[in-house]
């Protein structure tokens, strides 16, 4: 039985997908996400895990109408460049219409179904961002 989504890969990256786990390079001090075996900036393998903030700012976004196979049900897909403290990550924006997005708006992380492998394969859960909930001072 062939599967579209790799089970070992989905399992391996769950810390990044579920909890925004990133890696900080002890040699050059930079943070990258998702964590890789070596720092993409200086090549050092001396890394430590850090958790990124769950709230940030939408710095840029694009609206994708020509979506990958398996994503038509959620088209158009909103892809955002989100600043989380010192780090920028690319992730889907959810719970918003394209007309509601603004550069500079506050967003917060939520856990969503990123992809599911047809009818019988694995479901990949991971972080997306949504416009910060009103009453958001309570969001923490």
């Amino acid at each position: 039985m062939s599967m579209d989504l790799s089970v070992p890969e989905t399992w391996r990256v769950k810390g990044a997908l579920y909890r925004l786990e990133a890696a900080r390079c002890k040699a050059c001090g930079r943070i990258h996400y998702p964590p890789m075996p070596a720092c993409p900036y200086c090549g050092s393998r001396d890394l430590e895990r850090v958790t990124l903030p769950s709230e940030g700012v939408l710095e840029s976004y694009t609206v994708v109408y020509a979506v990958p196979e398996g994503s038509r049900h959620k088209a158009p897909v909103l892809l955002g460049l989100v600043r989380l403290g010192r780090v920028r990550v690319v992730a889907e924006i959810t719970d918003a219409d394209p007309s509601e997005l603004r550069t500079g708006m506050e967003v917060e992380a939520v856990l969503r179904r990123i992809r599911s492998d047809r009818e019988a394969g694995i479901i990949r859960y991971g972080v997306m961002f949504r416009p910060k909930l009103k009453g958001g001072s309570r969001g923490g």
């Binding site: 579920y18 179904r113 909930l133």
Partner: protein
């Protein structure tokens, strides 16, 4: 009441979640040719619909995150995660481990999915009370979450909706509310069921009322009151399972509880029946407004059939915890109206080759 195991335990955090999308009842009536007054007869205005990237796990996760924030404890101190649902993303593979992992609760914890139609989460709650009271665990997390299914065109479609709720249960000390007692009443009553591999449940029409909902809740509540020596007038709020907007008011009347004590926790008219969240989500809304010293009666119900009744007393700690997570009404006011076609797409009612 002194000496009961329930009295050693309490709620440390509560968390609600309601998805953004709302389907007005008029859309269902329009598409399926129901009489325009059908929904108002059920006491319904509109229902909440999970988005295309949501399911019971993602909704349950957010409710649990809110509950943990209010509890203000390290996630690793949670020793059991019980997930009550009848809309599991995987038929086999626990949802509870996904949520526990995402919240940082794993690995030294129990985690399991429970099934008892709409009261699986309540069974989890009662189990956690016992586990905390015995000292087996320090804190436990119970989650009720459903993307409720209904056969398109069935009257059940008016109410079946999506939402989630979660509670962190721990010792009485430091709790925002403590338990005075609990009582469970179950029988084999086939009022509502979904056979294996079937996409939608069936129900016994009028049979879901008298021998199921009313009989079980009435007896659970009366059993609780008898054990605690309390009477209905001793409670400031009453929250019952809410399959529609009418049944909770009718069971309250039968028990001699005025409507005014039920309405603050009656959420189904504006979000629908969230199944495992239902009554416990009503309790969350009551905790959003309750004052120290208030006594709350809660009675979830699940088909098949059974009901639990709880007596809960609010403490001084509630005021400082309330603002640590979004309120039910914060989610309620985040509202995007959709039409039936969008609802059908979001909930997978269309048969699409994948």
């Amino acid at each position: 009441m002194e000496g009961r195991p329930e009295g050693k335990t309490g709620i440390h955090g509560w968390g609600a979640y309601v998805p953004r999308y709302r389907l007005p009842m008029s859309e269902i009536a329009r598409v399926w040719g129901w009489a325009p007054e059908q929904a108002s007869g059920l006491g319904m205005k509109e229902k909440a619909v999970a988005g295309p990237d949501e399911d019971s796990v993602t909704m349950g996760y957010e409710a649990a995150r809110n509950a943990l924030r209010r509890a203000s404890i390290e996630a690793s101190r949670v020793g059991a995660v019980f997930f009550g649902t009848e809309s599991k993303p995987y038929a086999v593979k626990p949802s509870a481990t996904i949520i526990a992992e995402a919240l940082g609760i794993t690995p030294a914890t129990m985690a399991s999915d429970l099934e008892f139609a709409c009261r699986a989460a309540s069974e989890g709650l009662r189990a956690l009370i016992g586990m905390v009271a015995s000292g087996l665990i320090e804190y436990g997390l119970v989650i009720g979450s459903d993307t409720a299914q209904a056969n398109p065109g069935d009257v059940l479609e008016f109410t079946a909706s999506s939402g989630a709720v979660a509670y962190v249960i721990g010792p009485r000390e430091g709790a925002v509310a403590y338990f005075e007692g609990s009582y469970t009443y179950v029988t084999d009553t086939p009022d509502f069921w979904r056979r294996a591999h079937q996409p939608y449940p069936l129900h016994g029409e009028g049979f879901t009322g008298e021998p199921a909902y009313f009989h079980h809740i009435e007896n659970a509540v009366k059993g609780l009151l008898a054990e605690l020596g309390l009477k209905p007038s001793d409670f400031d709020y009453a929250v019952f399972h809410q399959p529609n907007g009418k049944f909770p008011l009718r069971i309250a009347r039968r028990l001699g509880i005025p409507k005014e004590k039920v309405l603050p926790g009656l959420v189904t008219p504006v979000i629908g029946n969230t199944y495992n969240a239902s009554a416990l989500l009503g309790l969350a809304r009551v905790l959003d407004v309750a004052k120290p010293g208030d006594r709350i009666l809660v009675a979830p119900f699940g088909s098949g059939a059974g009901s639990d009744a709880y007596s809960i007393v609010v403490t001084d700690a509630i005021e400082e915890r309330r603002s640590l997570a979004p309120l039910f009404d914060d989610y309620l006011s985040r509202r995007k109206e959709i039409d039936y076609a969008t609802y059908a797409k979001f909930r997978g009612i269309f048969n699409v080759i994948k």
